[in-house]
Amino acid sequence: MDYPDQFDVIVVGGGHAGTEAAAAAARMGVRTLLLTQSIETIGQMSCNPAIGGIGKSHLVAEIDALDGIMAKAADAAGIHFKILNARKGPAVRATRAQADRVLYKNAVRKMLEQQPNLSLFQQSVVDFVIQNNTITGVVTQMGLVFSCRCVVLTTGTFLGGKIHIGTENHAGGRAGDAPSIALAHRLRALPFRVGRLKTGTPPRIDGRSVDFSNLEVQPGDDPRPVMSDLCTSMDHPRQVNCFITRTNPQTHKIIQDNLSRSALCSGAIEGVGPRYCPSIEDKVVRFADKNEHQIFIEPEGLNTTELYPNGISTSLPFDAQLAFVRSIEGFAKAHITRPGYAIEYDYFDPRDLTHSLQTKVLDGLFFAGQINGTTGYEEAGAQGLLAGINAARKSQHQATWEPRRDEAYIGVMVDDLVNLGTSEPYRMFTSRAEYRLRLRQDNADQRLHELGLHLGVIGEQRAQHFAAKMHQLESLRSQLASAKVQPNSALAAALLSLIGVGVSKDTDLLELLRRPDVNAASIATILAGHIGTQQASTATMRGADLLGQIEIETKYAGYIKRQDNEIAKIRRHEGMSLPQGLRYNDIDGLSNELRFKLSDARPATLARAARIPGMTPAALSILLVYAKKFAHGDSAATG
């Protein structure tokens, strides 16, 4: 039957990409439907129970800045919080939360259920309705037809999913869930480039069978960081510890002895796995000189004894898994609750997408998450947000948002994917962002709020919160600028005794903050104890954050300016579009390698062409010359 209600945006999949996409479209006021195989598994964390980490928490902060759900869910479910890279600089500083799986899932589902304009429906999608190369609806397993203007597909590892444990394998989307075979067939019939990727999980262990007495304890940070601008640590549930243990030569010997029975080494797996997240088999083989590898023992939740031993993902047969696990300190009597496994799945070459995440193949169809060859909840969520926003925009005939590399990590990720594709599961790292010093976690809201308001994706509560923060920041700045320290004054003496800094002429606190030997903490001390204009804001955690932000602004001003210049230069190339019909093979003066890469990537702008590896300034000039010729209607090198 045809479902009677009409939708603007249909999101297929209820994982981290799907939930952000559906919530974003609904926040923008369009009629949105989320279709999932199972409402029970909405917001499920299929891999390790953690949100954030280096590069990743930057994405979470950006999702939060655009009023998404991931950061808020992480605060509602986080049972262990840590700041990473605390001393390596504000731009690479990151936050990581271990989450209670059940609390996380519940938080996500609650936010979706409270979201106006959003409906949930439990059915798997088996087909699309297509008219004139445009998607106009989807068909579910019981033959129900939903019509809509745009579809966001977020099927994760479920497309053609295959699970490997040792030499055994079976079809599956996640341990315990069915894969989407029909949809995979349907998509393979369309002219998309399809590839296979692989990822793995470790065996889960019952905490009651672990001896913690000799394990290194890793407590959470105090003071405890938060993920969302709208939350405080008061929103967090009870906190617990993590632990660290290590493999040993005996563990490595057991793995070596069983290698021939591993799915990886038997040749049963064709997909490419991530180099930064190798299985324990991989580590033992490739780094044979190492006698031990760290294992982070992460609790799965407050109301379960299950543990996630991060660092030993494996596809060895179960008996070998049990043997090597029991050779590890603390695990001598370990009981495995779920075997580890490797999963292979289809992904679609993201070079078949535009920067809005719409496919080039079908108008109105968007892809987000693991289907695009990425890995990680945060990467998926960020893409979901972008695809949801753009599907909503498109359904209303509005221009889509194509985030830039200098404005957000989301922009870096999308540009990397669309421009270069990926041959392994793509994960975010801060080193991928050339403008890293600008793209900080602390300024994600300042980078994206205006834009979010323009897109209509930001709600009232966040808009007020942001306005208040900006107001406080401004007044703190002027307070610092007007607080003068005069030589030989009482304040100067206090400064000298407190932080060992002397002044030789009238200096305001803002100037003082610019000096390398003065930091936000010392300024806070001066403000609090000696100026007497202490405001409520500086006494709170938030106040300290604001002062910290002003410190970064002043200390990094030179670097930011230099990057601004670099960006301005590239921005000019951004405005130069390259005709899609350009016949690169006919352009003299380009190397064969570049002709091939350009024909493959068909970059939309000169700036994107510039990021193709091996591109030279001369080749760019040549492209510019031909683009100009094309623009004047001469079609000699086009067609």
Partner: protein
């Protein structure tokens, strides 16, 4: 839509061919050309009015000559252009160029003046191919020039520097992106030591490059052909007619004969090579290998064919290309039909540019020299001179960034700042040896460190 504003930044280059000439011209184009020129010339400029003045650098007189302002859009590039016409000495021109670049201009890329002229509608749209060609060949010339004049040593050393820098960045980036792993870099003195070593290598290279120890001037024209086609006679005739300025360089190798001469004001190094033929004889094979190498580095390749043998020209050139590992249809190839005195028929039915001469009677030699001048002039228009200056420029940027990185490290600044300075240094070297993407860097991190929990 293509916008001309893409190129608003100020560029400078020597506009006259390299070498000693009566007049040397340095051209400045882009936004702010007039105000910069007025500062250097210490004179007020008016449109299209030649002003005779001195050129200054830091209060010192560099040279004297004419300065002319061409306001936009009525200039060569369509932008604000200023021409400095001074003395032709390469050293003086270089100093003037340095002065302009220190005060806000940047060195033009190969072909960039023509590119801007084209983009601003100063040239016919039909010339797109020619302009693209110019950019491609000028860039290739610059690369070949650097390789040749710096005897390949320069590239090797820049590559070594880039590799060292990459290693360093791998450590620093790994420390940032993988703090859970046992990669604690900044506590390690190795990083500081490595930066210091790189700085020393960079300083040595810069010093040598600036002193010109590794440099040699002149475009390269190479003679290629089968044995006994008259290559050596051609060389003698070309050199003999310019006898007054020929300097014979005694054979660096037994079978490459090099002669420096000037044709139409352009310094040229003419190189004769061993006759090309299939051979198993060891010494002859070595000669042919040298000829192959030489052909790769040349701006112009004169393929000499014995006209009296009556072969099909295209077939003969293809055969020689095969022997010398050149691409058939290489645009640097120019065919010289020698021994024309022995045949009456003149065959012009070929895909290559062709010239009919007789080294014996001297017939056609004037036309050959004009051809060489035109060919070399085309690519030399944006001087290898600038290419080299650009390299020096990039090395200086890298050097400054490394210095900063070291200071930051010693003053215990944030790791991310050290990483930023290293990125800038790497980018600068990348302008010479090609850029490295973040993904390349990550790949190296994964292969060096056991990453991943």
């Amino acid at each position: 839509m293509v916008s001309a504003s893409l190129h608003s930044d100020l560029i400078a280059a020597v506009a006259t061919p390299p070498g000693q000439g009566g007049i040397g011209i340095v051209r400045l184009s882009g936004h702010g050309a007039k105000s910069l020129a007025e500062k250097v010339a210490q004179a007020k400029l008016e449109p299209r009015k030649a002003v005779f003045t001195k050129f200054f650098h830091a209060g010192q007189v560099l040279d004297e000559g004419l300065v002319i302002l061409f306001p936009r859009p009525n200039s060569f590039t369509g932008e604000e252009v200023v021409e400095f016409q001074g003395h032709g000495s390469p050293v003086v021109l270089q100093l003037l160029l340095n002065t302009l670049c220190e005060q806000g201009a940047r060195l033009a890329r190969p072909g960039e003046f023509s590119e801007r002229a084209y983009l601003n509608g100063k040239m016919d749209l039909a010339q797109a191919e020619a302009i693209a060609d110019l950019i491609a060949s000028a860039s290739a010339t610059a690369a070949r020039g650097a390789m040749r004049s710096l005897q390949g040593e320069f590239s090797a050393r820049v590559n070594a520097l880039a590799a060292g820098l990459e290693k360093l960045r791998i450590f620093v980036e790994a420390a940032i992106d993988f703090p859970d792993e046992d990669v604690d870099i900044l506590a390690d003195h190795q990083v500081l030591t490595n930066i210091q070593q790189l700085r020393q290598q960079l300083a040595d290279l810069l010093a040598q490059t600036q002193q010109g120890q590794l440099l040699a001037e002149g475009a390269s024209v190479t003679l290629l052909g089968a044995p006994n086609t008259g290559k050596s006679s051609l060389l003698n005739v070309l050199a003999g007619e310019e006898a007054a300025i020929v300097t014979d360089i005694p054979g660096t190798t037994r079978d490459l004969l090099k002669v420096d001469l000037i044709i139409g004001g352009i310094p040229i190094r003419l190189v004769d090579t061993a006759g090309l033929r299939e051979t198993s004889e060891r010494v002859e094979q070595l000669g042919i290998e040298r000829a192959q190498k030489q052909a790769q580095l040349a701006e112009v390749i004169l393929v000499v064919v014995d006209a009296s043998q009556g072969q099909d020209i295209d077939e003969e050139v293809s055969r020689l290309c095969g022997l010398s590992e050149l691409r058939v249809g290489d645009k640097r190839i120019f065919v010289v039909m020698n021994k024309q005195d022995l045949v009456s028929r003149i065959d012009t039915n070929t895909t290559y540019a062709i010239c009919h001469v007789s080294a014996k009677t001297g017939d056609g030699m004037e036309i050959l020299r004009q051809h060489i001048q035109q060919r070399v002039g085309f690519v030399a228009q944006e001087a290898p001179f600038t290419a080299r200056a650009r390299h020096v420029d990039a090395l200086q940027v890298a050097s400054a960034a490394l210095q900063q990185a070291q200071d930051c490290l010693q003053n215990k600044h944030e790791t991310e700042i050290v990483a930023e300075e290293l990125r800038l240094a790497h980018n600068a070297l990348g302008e010479i040896v090609g850029t490295v993407s973040a993904d390349d860097l990550l790949g190296k991190i994964f292969s060096e460190f056991c990453i991943g929990k």
